[in-house]
Amino acid sequence: MATVEFREASRIFDTMSRPAVNRINLDIADGEFLVLVGPSGCGKSTTLRMLAGLEPVDQGQILIDGVDVTDKRARDRDCAMVFQSYALYPNMTARQNMSFALENARMPKAQITEKVAAAAKMLELEDLLDRKPAKMSGGQRQRIAMGRAIVRDPKVFCMDEPLSNLDAKLRVTTRSQIATLQRRLGVTTVYVTHDQTEAMTMGDRVCVLKDGEIQQVDRPTFLYEHPANTFVAGFIGSPAITLIENVEVSGSRAVMGEGHRMELGMDPVLASRTPGRVIVGIRPEGWEVLSEDDGSTVPLRVDLIEELGSESFAYCTPLMTADSPVTVRNSRVTVRAGKRQKLSVGETIHVRPGPDEASFFHPESEVNLEFLEG
């Protein structure tokens, strides 16, 4: 059990281009489950591999339990890793796979047997112990890979998209199993994923990365409700948030066009932090759907409806007046409709954001106004 600290840590593959990981500062508490999330190529896996010792740290430091491990070899860092491809040794049985690290550490045989048995019991893979990976299903291999990490009692678990090769249903069950297991073992865990559902549901905190830089680190719900910038707002949440650009604010209302306003309920304190125009972000569930225009709504034409059973999402084109300076990013507004709300394709609906549902971003830096100084 240990804390992990990244201090200005960078990984530079090629001095001519932008660093893969750019001066990351991150403190991970003892026993914490931290999720690194971001689009592909954002440096999340590289960050994890730097911690594991599989990738050199070109600048800065990494500390595990207060000890600088920057120049230590992978085997001396006491991190266990679960790989995306599981990386089980194909020539060894599950038992041998799990005991390999302990044998390398010259642990007495009896103790190895005991540890492997305990881990196998915890992960319910006693029946698989004498099977080789080739004879196992994806889910079973995944559990063996977890077992191989657990038996070592490492200071840190590093998990690199361990669920991405499982089918959707298994992924959901395994997701909760891993989260439960981590809480039970209390081992500091860094978990890389590109799946934001995993990020939201598993982690104590979520760290969103983009282009090798940290965008925001916070509790999942806080991240969802108070995204630091438009990137985090767009990345977290599915379907994605709707971003309305070039919105002129007048009082608490947005001017959507000549004589056409939309009630935003914007805090005057926030309004004072902008040069006049803002980017407004509204999540699909933040819209109120009205059947008629009451002067504070925006008309939308429904293009596509996704029925999920318990709810449905309508993807709509905003019907702006011709002179409107306002644009919607990706030209799409996503609206969540309740179970009883029947919408149909081609219909025109009138929407407005519910109270406190809108986030406001600076038009140039795209940073959330809440995070800016007045």
Partner: protein, 304 residues
Amino acid sequence: MASPLTIAAPSAPEVAAPAIGPSRTPRTNGERGLAGKIVGYLGILLTVAVILVPLYFIVITSLKTQPDIYRDPITWWPNPLAPENYSYVGEHVSFGKYFRNSVIITAVLTVVKVTLGVLSAYALSFLRFPGRTLVFFLVIASLMVPNQITIISNYSLVAQWGWRNTFAGIIVPLAGVAFGTFLMRNHFLSLPKEIIEAARMDGAGFGRMLFRVVLPMSWPTLVAFTLITIVNEWNEYLWPFLMSDTDKVAPLPIGLTFLQNNEGLTNWGPVMAGTVLASIPILIVFLVLQKQMIKGLTAGAVKG
């Protein structure tokens, strides 16, 4: 067979077939399959004939008497049968000694070459050191030089050391292993990177990494490399021929030439009998290792 691409082919009615309408007459899979099979079998027959006819002639010649061998037209079956050629080999050359020499040379060279090949390939694929690529290019470059070119300088050096007619004189200059390094390195680099990383994180040292992780995933390639080495060394001719002129260290191929010389290049029966005897051990090795090779190939298809 008329190619459908031939322009001047008015006689081919199937080209005009679309005009007839719905009564299309596609060639069935069965027909195509049969034609394919015939072509395939013809190909196999031709290949087998090219390889088998000379082999067959070696075997029957080894059982022929001297006049029978020179009979015109050639005969395809020994008449009379002359198995005494085989006992002649045993009596007139020290076949046992040559055989022993061959086994010693092949065994030592195979062990040395496989060991060096695996170790150098391991270094070139898993260790990071400056000039790694350069070393690899040097290894490749040495493959480009035919060894006949270096043979004179090698000879003068080794003869100067007084290594003629010694095993060291035959073995040491042949122990260079560029091909094996090349083969094994490329194979090691094709192994899933994560497994090597997993082993590194699991604290595997050099020995356990090599013997428990890397080599078990490399059996087919390693067996193929070993097999090629064994066959090559067993059949090695030029260098041992230059290095030895007695039965003290000369391997079987050289022994066969002594047999030839003894008989003034005429009595081919015993020479062929000797050739057959010399190739039997390699056939056995092939039969044993071949199964391993195939087993390894299919096991490697499923990655854990």
